[in-house]
């Protein structure tokens, strides 16, 4: 053959052209999924803590109410992480010798705070207020998942804006009666939507989607 290309060139050329176009589309779609994937959001990733505190044991097992430790969840923006004192209320009586708890006892002895790793970490420019959500009937479980089944703690939701917005736009899909807010494994007595709509009226829930609702 004395011409520049041989027969196969045609197939190669056409395939590379079409294939290239398809590849670009595929990568774009993967990118969209990647942005929402757990390793970007950090969801469902176990967070190691100085003390391997088990919510499964304390909440699921012993049935301690959320508010026993997270005291300000219904009164302030911040749900509060309990001071060492709170742990010692019980653990000055029980599991006195457990090596697990040595960091706690040490903290109490030395007055040096325990240093926990943050699990639910919103960006600085997002201003979230626990108390209002609790007041309006958003269950702990709705965002934090089945804490009562978490031996090790992890973030149950993506915490991305689109995730927040889903509820802010349609609260009726998620609301529960105030008395059930701290309940784990809650099941609506009946159709969630009808119950939700009633609660929206009852609690005067505004679906706020203004930017300054969360960003200042």
């Amino acid at each position: 053959m004395s011409q520049i290309f041989n027969r196969s060139a045609n197939q190669i050329a056409r395939f590379s052209l079409v294939g290239g176009a398809l590849a670009v589309g595929l990568v774009a779609w993967l990118g969209l999924l990647l942005m929402r994937s757990d390793f970007v959001t950090g969801a469902n990733a176990n967070v190691t803590q100085p003390v391997q505190f088990s919510h499964a044991h304390h909440v699921g097992g012993l049935g301690i109410d959320c508010r026993y430790c997270h005291t300000t969840v219904d009164s302030a923006r911040f749900a509060n992480i309990p001071p060492t004192k709170t742990c010692m209320n019980c653990h000055s009586q029980i599991w006195l010798t457990s090596s697990y708890l040595e960091p706690v006892r040490e903290s109490f002895r030395t007055g040096q705070s325990l240093v926990w790793n943050r699990v639910h970490d919103l960006p600085d420019f997002v201003y979230f207020n626990h108390s209002v959500h609790v007041k309006k009937g958003v269950g702990c479980e709705t965002c934090h998942g089945r804490i009562d089944q978490m031996a090790g703690i992890y973030q149950a939701s993506s915490l991305q804006m689109e995730w927040c917005i889903t509820c802010h736009r349609a609260p009726e899909q998620f609301l529960r009666p105030r008395e059930a807010v701290y309940q784990m494994g809650y099941h609506p007595a009946g159709d969630q939507l009808t119950i939700g709509r009633d609660l929206v009226k009852k609690y005067d829930v505004k679906s706020l989607t203004s930017c300054s609702t969360c960003h200042r």
Binding site: M1, S2, Q3, I4, F5, N6, R7, S8, A9, N10, A13, R14, L17, L32, L33, R36, E162, I165, T166, R169, A170, T209, C211
Partner: protein
Amino acid sequence: MADTLLYGLMAEFTSTDALVSAAERVHQEGYTRIDALTPIPVHGLAEAMGYDDRRIQKMILAGGLFGCAAGLGLQLHVNLIGWNINIGGVYLSGYPLNVGGRPLVSLPAFIIPTFELTILFAALTAVIGTLALCGFPEPYHPVFNVKRFRERGSTDGMFLCVEAEDPKFDAAKTRDFLKGLGARGVYDVEP
């Protein structure tokens, strides 16, 4: 059919006019698998061989209309769809917002992106469509096997090619016939 060693025969002519008349004759002769190859567009040449392809216009029109719809649709969607839409884990809602007290659907403002997308898609269709209709990319083609064509084909050579696939094709007869049309030379085209 007759000679499988041959893709076809190629005759070279000296002027566009000669080429056009030759093409007409070949066409009238009943040849169907013929093609003329010129370094410049010669009007009436394709018609002379009975080719009249008008698909590209329609494709471009369709592309333009699609762009128009996509552009306007996107803007309306973004400014109106205030509820949750989630497709394959990707969130596709819009976000209606009060922007400077303007209405959600500010059509005058939306005209421009709509217009631009119309043009964009029409233009893309034009080019992609052309490639598709011409069967490009096609870097290999038997005609390039003809040395004379490689040398002059894109400079000043006027060629007429009759393919062996043509039912009326017969190596000897067709060669004589082409010679008879005043071809400057006739060459075998290897497959």
